[in-house]
Assembly symmetry: D4
Homo-oligomer: 254 residues x 8
């Protein structure tokens, strides 16, 4: 497109429909604009269907509603993460089809939960207390169009519960492992799975968990290969990484 | 296979070719063996062509040579990471076709560098001092059968050098970003790329870099989505994660 | 048992009471089930009488009551740790025999405090502010069936108070030492006692106690031998470790 | 000057215009006064127009109003940073011309926002959440008499937005870069700009941002030269440093 | 005993066999001596057979030999931990029956490795690099008179290797788990075992392992109960704790 | 004394005034009692006039009042530190002569503020925000019977204000320096003073002050000699150390 | 220039000297090239006379000599920082006019030490052990063309030595303060000076200096305004920041 | 004195014995000189007999010998701390009466070890490995003229050894407690002693001792009052603080 536009401009110069000064003016800001828009367009084209995302934490309900308003309009969905129920109520006043996922603390507009793409993402969590982060990952991955399965409460202290799930683990393209405390689940899953594993440390724990630091360090030092890590409690980030992988799989540019 | 074997055993019991006591004995260790070997076989089958890997750091040249000897024999390659030249010389005495990559500090046996699979991995590094880690990632990814390209020395302090490489960035399935000091390259690449980005903090720096902690925290807090992180200086780990992704892409089980 | 079941199955195959396909189906999930249930059964059998434990912190009173409801029914007791009085009131509506230990912040159902086993556990604490954690340990140990004695407020700044307690210290099988601030009590007791000492750092203190880090590091570096450490404020964990030791003593499998 | 004054005093002693006791009295406090007042006067003279500054955090509205009252009176302005709206209301009761900047959380008295000096300071921020700190820097720099421009929300994850601003970046004498999370903006701006860059890490982020530590370390390790750093969230400090530079530029003592 | 001795002294005073001055002298040091020696005797009696222990790290070969000389003589063994081969050679010059365990870096005199007591201690390690610490624990436990078994190289990345060892795990009274990197083995073993588990983090790893901190925090936050922790690389300390438990089991004072 | 008592007992045994059984009983608890009470008496005698101290933080008003009640009665004063006004009101109901120092957050009973001993303690603070900790130190030192002077708000950013106070600094036996932020005042005072300097870091500051860690490390690394440090915000501890010094000065046992 | 080139291209299209396809090709890479080179040229032009800088630490003497060779040729100087004498000897073989500053550990080629610009930079250091870092700053600032004065060994423990230097402090445009241990000099100088102060923490110290962390935190929390901080031991970085300021002063674009 | 001198000068001016120019000259440097030298003189006078101190660590033997040469000459002694034997040999070449204390790593010139003042300082250490730091403290205190006693190897793991030393503890004016690992000795001694206690954490230990951090934090959080802390391994600093106290005691300015 951009190339065509450029060609038209040159042809117009050639045909004297546009004079050199005007062409120069239009080209003047080209570099950055071009860079900017090319990048953006390219991004957008590839990311088609990827929702806009609003990180709601630390914003008032009013601010969040206002941002939803500003972003909405296109056919892309909108995802609000770390949103309170109060924020949801404000948004719902404007968009009655907004849906709130209480556990995940997310607001979703304009995208049902049935997968529109073929990516298969498995979200596993170690304990029930890790579920909010796990659900943030799961909802995000679904909103991005993936099929998502959940296996929760399979901490390594009861390893047999985990081993019962080997079949389901084989189903997935990518596995997201969510765990607090000592975060050992990431290593055990990483040892059992062939897929890329994305580990999410959570701030679940107390004392020497240091708000997730123990799980974070544990996961970074995983003795299993094929494991990488995102920030503490960053369910959204894990889903975004997992989605980047499934989009690549679908792109099948091999 | 395992199922068939089991069926044969049962049929033999039925046909009195094997008596119950013997069958019981053979089944006795089944659970764990089965689990074990099934998992291993499954692993191995999928991982076909994946080399054995030896982490050489902290081992003597003799120990390393001995481990190479023990593992070698099949048609899989062997990769030794964090290996000194002394270790290589010991290994070379036994395996004259062993190759040493000085910068990457790796020993490779039995796998040329031309890709045998279709995975495309781009390894980028911020500074020349990050190259050993970047090369560890690149060589590892190659030995695992991927096509690898390298873009080195494109730190964010000279952002134009990075922007010149946008085309090459589009080529890859996965991008590995290797950076020390403040590790900002991961965020900038993460913002430009649609592919999954695997960030490797390095211990390059001094003072408040705290041996890579600054880069690690920086990468974990990346404002770009689609970025995950491995341990400091863990070039091998990044390549293993990248390879898990490209194998999934090739599997094309979408 | 499991072996007998397996033998019966094989005999039935032999006797054509069960055909091969059906036997195969029943064996298919054997490995994990077997592993799973064997482990669980073994666990359960040995742990007979060990209560179910609910970590109540971060859960609403309603959630806690609901979990109590779900777990209750058998003859095992239930222990809720880090529970508020509000949670207790909700639980008490359902189980009028529930008991609340205010200082320990625990809810106990179905187990009186008189010891049902022979384990002798001594819980010592350095200051009055450490008592909630000490009581969590003491109540937990009691609920698990041990005889428990308490020696509180014997900090090392008044060493004579501690030395007065040498006789009582000799009574115990295991000593749990609970201390915040600099946590020195663990080393002093470790030097005086022959028994295994389990040290629990508490978050009592301010400034450079860094929420229990000072006591934790102090205890890990104890110059006395026979001392091991659990997480900060983890009274429950210390009791569970102590109980594992007393059960082993009772098992008397020497 | 001081020397002349001293000479006059001595001559007056010699000429009996001043007696020894009086001279002694005047000389008695000379050392410290001289030191003290010389320094202060020099300071004051150079800092002419520099407002008094009150750090309001942790003070009650009453205390703040009281301090404003005590300081006010001269023709210098007064700046209150980290002030709540409640504090402002108390101050406004006394000084109806007091102005409150909600985002920056600053109270300003006696200085309009139009620059009275020639210093040009550009304040850039990475994300909308960094704006309160950025505004504290901007308002402070304005109150000190500089011309200030703002470029907000140009995080490195969308590098094209930043590159669009190169012209504006060339306008400034000093650039203040405000960023939380991974703080990468400081390095990218430092690589593009020739001016001194003052980096302000913010506590924006969560998990492994450790309340701004990640951004702080990132900025201290910047691979770009000409970058220095102030404390986390210290918008005021960055403005004070920037103002020290622009005053030096204006002084033009080269 | 002490009471009898005291009674005899008093009776002798009464019977004029001992005069007051002499009695006073003998009583003068009673308080502390009594305290001291009672404690020591009690200790020694219980610890009968427990070897003297020398922490050799940071001492010269000469110093170590000198300390061995000073301590030797009784029938108790001597154990030197963290000893270099050079130190051993010096000691061997004096005590030809001294034995050096290279991997464990220990020097042992006067105690064979066959158990003289009935304690059963299992030492497990995650990787081959953890073996020196594991061997320090194993040799120490043996020298203290326990029967010791070793299961090495059963890291959680290959969970089936661990599951194969369930029977051996059931054999032990106490399990010592030695692991570096993310230290996840402690949690998995803690979940499978009923015995007390003593976790030893090692400094094996690099980057964000921070010399064993990652494993230490991981183990302190273990989601399995019945796990306690000793200092990083403290194989000796784990064995001493395990031995305190087995002695208590043997004492069978239940 | 104790020796005499013992001699009398022995003589009484000798003279049959006390029989052996009774003597034995009286001697039975001698060791610890002797140790204990000797130490305590010695302590008490020397500490005569030293008030009982209650650390009120984390206790309810009711608990505090109850402890005051329990301790009161003798002629020693009582000092409650970190006490809220609510706690004071409860205490005042019982002891109408109780006095509350709002800034210092202390409750004092039974000791006026005029010095009863000759110790001269100077308390200096860097900023107004450090005053609560400084006042805790000052009030504590006064209650312990010292003469106390205060020099507040002499931070090193205005060094002349500090230099004006050299005379007052020479007055003191001990100087307590209270400072948050970078804590530089301790080094400057330590360089100017000949007296022992006790440095108290405060948690005043934000961002990279890390709740007083910056000031603490700064003070521990002071380039001036004759400076030692107490815990963050520990005004009481500094006063107790200062008082230990002034008591030693008064004891004049040189 | 670029604009002219673009105009010529358009005119050639208009005049049919260049056809549209060719013009399109030449424009295709324009954006990034343009961006890149424009930025670079702009940079270079402004930075005229600024030397190339080589960070030598961690490179072999051979590598360093090779890089000098590659960079040399223009009329700009070259500066090698953190260079060993061995590296210097290698460089000197090629460039006999290379000069080595032993204390600063720098190699300089092609720039005498007399200032070629008007910037006045004062480098102050607290102790003699801080001199290597101070000299790195001083030499760097000189090589960049500034006039540099040095005031060393004026630590705050002897404040009078510092106060004697007030006149020299007034001379400078920018002050670089280099200090290890508690780093208090930055605050004291920041309180006395009106100029921008750049603080360089050094790793000088031991124990709780944690390799410069104490000084770093101290400087970041400076109570004086107009102070900013660079990385630990980063003398070069401080000089680069100071030079950015003096160039701005000279530019006099006010 | 100073006032008198000033008066005389003014009278001499008045009486024409000194002309104005000369008076001006003498007054010119008055402020700082006065400040400076007054301070210094005052310092020196009080510190009479206090040796010059050279921190030798990180300096070459040549540099150290050169500094000794520069400082020597007066009748004050010189103390070199952290000095190698090599440095001593260089110094001895110049000053044959120099004495080297191997354990303390100190060089002493010109001061015998017999006390010249009346200060009584007790140095206690927990383990033999802490002795170098303890000896640095002891030698320093002796060189400063105090009587010093040493009680070494009285760690809290053998509390009876410590309790045997109560009499010796009562002898001292000040107690210096040197301990590594968990540093608990400081609290126990602080609880037993009435004197000021100066705690010196040492870097003795491994793993989670983090080079003395554990002992440092432990001592800062001591539950005993009258304890203050110096930097890790800072034996000199503890002695300097102790000496400041004993000088104050001798001054007896009460």
């Amino acid at each position: 497109m951009h190339r065509d536009e450029l060609r038209r401009l040159l042809e117009n110069v050639k045909n004297n429909k546009v004079d050199v000064a005007e062409a120069l003016d239009r080209l003047k800001n080209l570099p950055y604009e071009d860079l900017g828009f090319a990048v953006i367009d390219h991004h957008r084209a590839l990311r088609k269907g990827f929702p806009e995302v609003i990180f709601c934490q630390g914003k008032t309900a009013e601010q969040i509603a206002w941002i939803f308003k500003k972003l909405c309009g296109g056919d892309r969905g909108i995802l609000g993460t770390r949103a309170s129920y109060e924020a949801f109520e404000k948004v719902k006043e404007i968009y009655p089809d907004a849906v709130y996922h209480e556990l995940a603390r997310t607001i979703v507009i304009g995208r049902g939960e049935k997968p529109v793409r073929k990516g298969k993402i498995l979200v596993m969590s170690a304990g029930t207390a890790d579920m909010p982060v796990a659900e943030e990952a799961a909802i995000t991955a679904e909103v991005m169009g993936n099929e998502v399965r959940r296996i929760y409460d399979v901490g390594v202290a009861g390893i047999h519960r985990l081993l019962d799930k080997l079949d389901e683990m084989r189903w997935a393209h990518v596995i997201v492992v969510v765990a607090g405390m000592e975060g050992a689940l990431a290593s055990v899953v990483g040892g059992l799975a062939d897929q890329p594993v994305i580990a999410v440390p959570t701030s679940v724990g107390y004392g020497a968990s240091f708000n997730g630091l123990a799980a974070l360090l544990s996961m970074l030092n995983s003795c299993a290969s094929g494991v990488s890590v995102v920030n503490i409690d960053n369910g959204f980030g894990a889903a975004a990484m997992a989605n980047a992988i499934t989009r690549m799989i679908e792109g099948a540019r091999v």
